[in-house]
Amino acid sequence: MCGIAGLIHRGKSSKVGHELQGMLQALKHRGEDSTGYALYGDTDGKNFIMRFKVGENVGEGSTSVAEDISVYDERKKIVDSYLLEMGAKIIKEERILPYSLRYEIEYNKKDLLEFSQKIESIPGVEILSMGKSLEVIKDLGNAKMVCDRYNLDKLVGTHAIGHARMATESGVDIKSAHPFWGYPFSDVSVVHNGQLTNYWNNRRALENKGMRFMSECDSELIAVYLAEKMREGASLEEGMKESLSGLDGVFTYFVATKDSLGMAKDTMAAKPLVLYESDDLVAMGSEEIAIRSILPQEIDTYDPFDGEVKVWQI
């Protein structure tokens, strides 16, 4: 079934990594094959933060094939050389796990399509996120395991979305885990709960337009679909409203950008969502217990109706 959660602080920052961990851990019964975070941290906004992987987690439960760890080093070297070639300067590099890296890079071109295509032309390399605020962290296991593994507890920011996944239609691996980066737009991420039934038709049409898919997970379609709409000039909210008719199936999804957070629910309202909204905080999740993990006191919550789209600014 999968669980999704998101929150946005309006007018202040908070320990969003810790808060989202609590929300997603409360939803772990909805799936703990993998968990993913899209965190929008407080940065100076000068440099890009690129989260990428050079291999898969092949631990217990993974559907990925084990590779020799030396392959990861080879891939990393090629990434470094490509960055240099494209005029990107590595300011800071962290190798969090053998297969997972975080680079802070100075890169002045606005179009990330060419950049991303070049990096991802290296077999086994995938950019998980690229942005001046966004950091996508996803791995196998439940929310606490991933949070501890990547030390997300202390990350301070304004908003975040996350996903607890029960793998149904694609593998148990990082590439199929949510959130999905809204490639090639910086700072756009998506999480989804549901099933899309016109995935292949939409995918073929979008691929013909030059859009890229990294997995066979139907949820990735939402990120690519919205990215395509925005590339055509639509605003995020307009793209989300179009998705209600453009995407077939049942879905509730969240999208986040550098300064906003949005939700959309299909016209059948088949997937759950509970929402809490106040002047300084919006929190939402597949179940109320997710919200209760950060707001244990009595609060007023509600279920958005079918076909509803909402967007909040920080």
């Binding site: 309202a269 179940e287 109320e288 509600y302 109706f305």
Partner: protein
């Protein structure tokens, strides 16, 4: 079990034409005879005293532990139980099969008060999906909003939400009354077979889709009608019943029921066309 064909004397239900089946061989079907009520034992029920009251803080309990403790309190004769700190937990208060005053000081998660028969419940908060699913009798009042599938498959009792509810309210309901003070989502009354739904606010698309029978009253705007849901005349007796019901429910007492819309089944579904009149009666 009972072999109906071999029973010469008709049960009251059969005499009234409610059951016309002629069953052969072994069957699990039983018909309730009020004269034999004392021979029926309803497993897991207690005689409780409404004046015997206690509080139960479930903050650090799992749903299973909380439900077991409620059962334990009922076994001690407590007839009024106040649940503190439910904090959106799922499946609280399920399977209560006797009369009981139950008050939740907070919100419930999914399947709250599911499969109950008899308790009177007040929830001073919100409820998640599938609240009071399969309710047989009793009354459940929610002071705030409710999630989707509110009152799914209820057979009887009154289910009242003073706020708004999500999609598929009253899906597959087979009796009882659902009253909504606010708005209701899409597919309200989906495949309902009996009972009544009252919505004082607006309702979403596909209202009463594929409903077999039952009645839906709507005070606000209707997004769209579902398949086989049609308008019907709001009679004076309907209005009297609505006023009585809203008054008892402590909701919308001053609401002008004369302007409400009444929606019923068009009964054009394929099975109605193919059934004999007596079979139709049995089906509903």
């Amino acid at each position: 079990m009972a072999n109906i064909k071999s029973v010469s004397k008709k049960t009251k239900a059969q005499a009234m034409g409610m059951h016309t089946e002629v069953l052969t061989g072994r069957t699990q079907q039983k018909f309730f005879n009020p004269d034999e009520a004392e021979n029926f034992y309803y497993f897991g029920t207690y005689d409780v005293d409404f004046n015997k009251r206690t509080d139960l803080d479930v903050k650090d309990m799992t749903a299973a532990e909380a439900n077991k403790e409620i059962d334990n309190l009922m076994s001690q004769g407590y007839g009024t139980i106040v649940i503190k700190n439910p904090q959106g937990k799922h499946s609280l208060g399920v399977g209560i099969l006797n009369k009981l005053n139950l008050i939740f000081e907070g919100s419930l998660g999914y399947f709250g008060m599911g499969s109950c028969d008899g308790p009177i419940v007040r929830i001073n908060g919100r409820v998640g999906w599938s609240c009071a699913e399969n309710l047989m009798a009793g009354k459940v009042v929610i002071e705030k909003n409710a999630g989707s599938c509110f009152g799914a498959a209820i057979r009887g009792g009154d289910l009242i939400c003073k706020g708004s509810v999500g999609a598929r309210t009253g899906i597959d309901m087979k009796g009882g009354t659902i009253i909504i003070g606010g708005d209701a989502g899409a597919f309200t009354g989906f495949m309902m077979q009996r009972g009544r739904i009252i919505i004082l606010g607006n309702v979403g698309i596909n209202l009463g889709d594929s409903m077999y029978d039952g009645t839906i009253f709507v005070g606000g705007e209707i997004g769209s009608y579902g398949s086989d849901a049609v308008d019907s005349e709001l009679t004076k007796s309907d209005q009297d019943w609505l006023r009585r019901k809203l008054k008892v429910a402590e909701i919308g007492e001053s609401f002008d029921v004369s302007k409400m819309k009444k929606i019923v089944a068009g009964k054009k579904l394929w099975n109605y066309d193919n059934l004999e009149p007596t079979e139709k009666k049995g089906a509903i």
